[in-house]
């Protein structure tokens, strides 16, 4: 029953940058249409890689600081963080396979 957990300006460091597991961050906004297509895909990914990947979401309207810090422009933007650094990024609504291919470069899938 894992789904993407909301994080924001106040806890981005502890939840994402300090995470021991790699983290997928879904930057979204409330009335962004393609964000609605990506959200269920991100939730499925959270389930599929449970224990190997942490999955969180950031509402960019409510958390402008972290959105600006990572240069978010087009949304949805999905970013992968590992040991506190951004290691990959996917922009726009993508099929689950595309996202899985990107993620498998960065996580231990044994």
């Amino acid at each position: 029953m894992s789904a993407a957990v909301p994080v924001g300006d106040s806890n981005f460091k502890t939840e994402v940058l300090d995470s021991e597991l790699p983290v997928l961050v879904d930057f979204w906004a409330p009335w962004c249409g393609p964000c609605r297509m990506v959200a269920p895909v991100v939730d499925e990914i959270a389930q599929q890689y449970s224990g190997k990947l942490k999955v969180v979401k950031v509402n960019t309207d409510e958390n402008p600081q972290v959105a600006s810090q990572y240069g978010i422009r087009s949304i949805p933007t999905l970013m992968v963080f590992k040991s506190g650094s951004k290691v990959d990024m996917v922009v726009g609504a993508v099929p689950k396979t595309t996202l899985a291919t990107t993620l498998e470069k960065h996580i231990d899938i044994k």
């Binding site: 930057f27 906004a29 409330p30 009335w31 962004c32 249409g33 393609p34 964000c35 609605r36 297509m37 960019t60 402008p64 959105a67 600006s68 978010i72 422009r73 087009s74 949304i75 949805p76 726009g92 609504a93």
Partner: protein, 112 residues
């Protein structure tokens, strides 16, 4: 939850339908996407005076409205029919539907 005025919502719904016809584009196969974008545009119209794209993050929304680049229809849409918000899609786009019309009820149901 922020809500658009009925007046802006209707104006943007009509604009979307007219512009899809005019540009030979279609709405997304998932009209929930279309409805959400129309709501987002209408909220920006109410709050900022222009239908700024709801699928971007901005440092300063008022400055962006003044710059006009991302006011719908944005420059990429006008120049090459590129709408990353998936409101207007070329018929061959993988997410394209077939329609260019959306009922008021389909949009208002998102706000309930």
């Amino acid at each position: 939850m922020r809500r658009p005025t009925p007046k802006s919502l209707e104006a943007l719904r009509k604009f979307a339908q007219t512009d899809a016809k005019r540009t030979d584009t279609v709405f997304c196969a998932d009209t929930g996407v279309t409805a959400a974008v129309i709501v987002g545009l209408a909220i920006h119209k109410d709050e900022l005076g222009a239908p700024l794209c709801p699928c971007r993050h901005y440092e300063d929304k008022r400055a962006e409205v003044a710059a006009a680049y991302w006011n719908c229809p944005c420059v990429p849409m006008r120049e090459r029919k590129a709408c990353h918000c998936l409101l207007f899609l070329p018929p061959e786009h993988p997410f394209a539907g077939t329609g260019r019309e959306i009922a008021e009820e389909e949009i208002t149901q998102l706000l309930e």
